[in-house]
Symmetry: C2
Subunit: 261 residues, 2 copies
């Protein structure tokens, strides 16, 4: 069975694949969007994508691709503790490093560390932490920020470990598939509100009055004008859920159910 992920080997998504199910056939994709579209187009049966980091918030590329694709549901969530490491092709001092490569989220998670220690370095964004490791293999005076397993995977040198600005650094991944789960205590929903005063308040009221707890709420711009939003919420399911979804279908301008898990 094929499982898509944001490659190459050595990414945090790859680590999430290993923790999820080592027996599956892992298929690499260059971007999160491509990994989700591969599921939509039946190239893989499941795909693993990061959805939220405790420091940076929602992974916008994942949320946007989920809005674009229908009939994709959550099967399971996997939470990883994220430790970032400074890695190069040989030993260097901070002052010698002229370039730093990593994924934008990893760069953001080490922003203070970079500002303090790597003052001489230009910052280069690449599409995954492991690609950054591949990139600096042949580049002297360059470093990457990546998962420690890239040191052995690509034959590199560890310069510094646990360099993230904040130790409450966790990333939540979703295993996605095309079948809506009927079991599970949690459910995720994407919705947008009608454009009238108190619209979000009224929708949160529907959950509150039915004793449905929100464990997460996140806003994304609706990509129309400033001030229009799409909300992603995680809720704790109870026996009123079907009734609540029926009410939401009337109250929301847009509603997508990502299923129970």
């Amino acid at each position: 069975m094929k499982l898509g992920f944001l490659g190459p080997k050595g990414t945090f998504s790859y680590q999430a694949c290993s923790e999820y199910d080592k027996t599956k056939d892992f298929i690499e994709y260059r971007t999160i969007k491509e990994a989700i579209y591969a599921l939509r187009n039946n190239e893989v049966e499941e795909t693993i994508v990061p959805i939220e980091n405790s420091l940076q918030g929602g992974v916008t590329e994942t949320i946007d691709a989920l809005i674009e694709c229908d009939d994709i549901y959550i099967k399971k969530e996997i939470i990883l503790k994220i430790n970032h490491n400074l890695i190069a092709n040989k030993q260097y001092s901070f002052d010698q490093i002229k370039e730093v490569y990593s994924h934008p989220q990893a760069l953001a998670q080490c922003r203070n560390y970079i500002e303090k220690n790597l003052k001489n370095a230009t910052i280069n964004q690449v599409s995954s932490t492991a690609l950054a490791a591949k990139e600096i293999k042949e580049k002297d005076y360059s470093a990457c920020i990546a998962n420690k397993n890239c040191v052995s995977e690509y034959g590199l040198t560890l310069l510094d470990e646990n360099i993230q600005d904040n130790n409450f650094n966790q990333t939540k991944f979703w295993v996605l598939n095309k079948k809506q789960n009927e079991e599970g205590n949690k459910m995720s929903i994407i919705f947008s509100t009608k454009n009238n005063p108190g619209a979000l308040y009224k929708i949160l009221g529907i959950f509150y009055e039915n004793n449905i707890n929100l464990s997460k709420i996140e806003s994304r711009p609706a990509k129309t004008v400033l001030g229009d939003y799409i909300f992603l919420v995680d809720i704790e399911v109870n026996d009123k859920i079907i009734e609540v979804i029926n009410i939401l279908q009337n109250e929301c301008k847009y509603l997508k159910i990502l299923g129970k898990y």
Copy 2:
């Protein structure tokens, strides 16, 4: 009078400075955080920073720096229509371009265009669109995504214009200073909720019951554990506002008033 902005010349922040007040002495900073800290440390009297884009949502670096710094208030908001352009040091075809440089938000705003047209290019993040233009000046087969005024500012060639994925592309900037404005119909507030069911619902209820309309709500992770959030809201001020703020002071775990404008 000194006005800080995200430099160098040619950024959208620079354009916002010119539209705000051409008579001020514009002072360049390398990052948004440095521009805000310059105000905190009295190096400048005012600073201009991007706060929200209609496609990408909140500018997390701005929101995080505002949470870190006390006694910084909004003086004015400025909204710019954002047009991105593909620019190089001479004429190239899409296939010839091996590297693309830009600010992460600009790269994200042109994500579909890059995927479709610049298949051979690696993507490099730099700290501003204008820095990207400076970067590619001496680099053959490289392009940047930047404001059109960089073509004349740095003597470059325009390859393609208006390349953003979506034409509802606006960025809102805030002029920040250290004095709390007493006038204005709008107010921005940052708060976090106590950790109990319906906490956000109850806070939105305080606004709703006092006829205070929310024109924006945005969530940011509180940087502690997954599921803890800080909210940034824009409200329309009425004569109940002082009373409402007093109630919020009791109901919120954390509250910061960014002032009227």
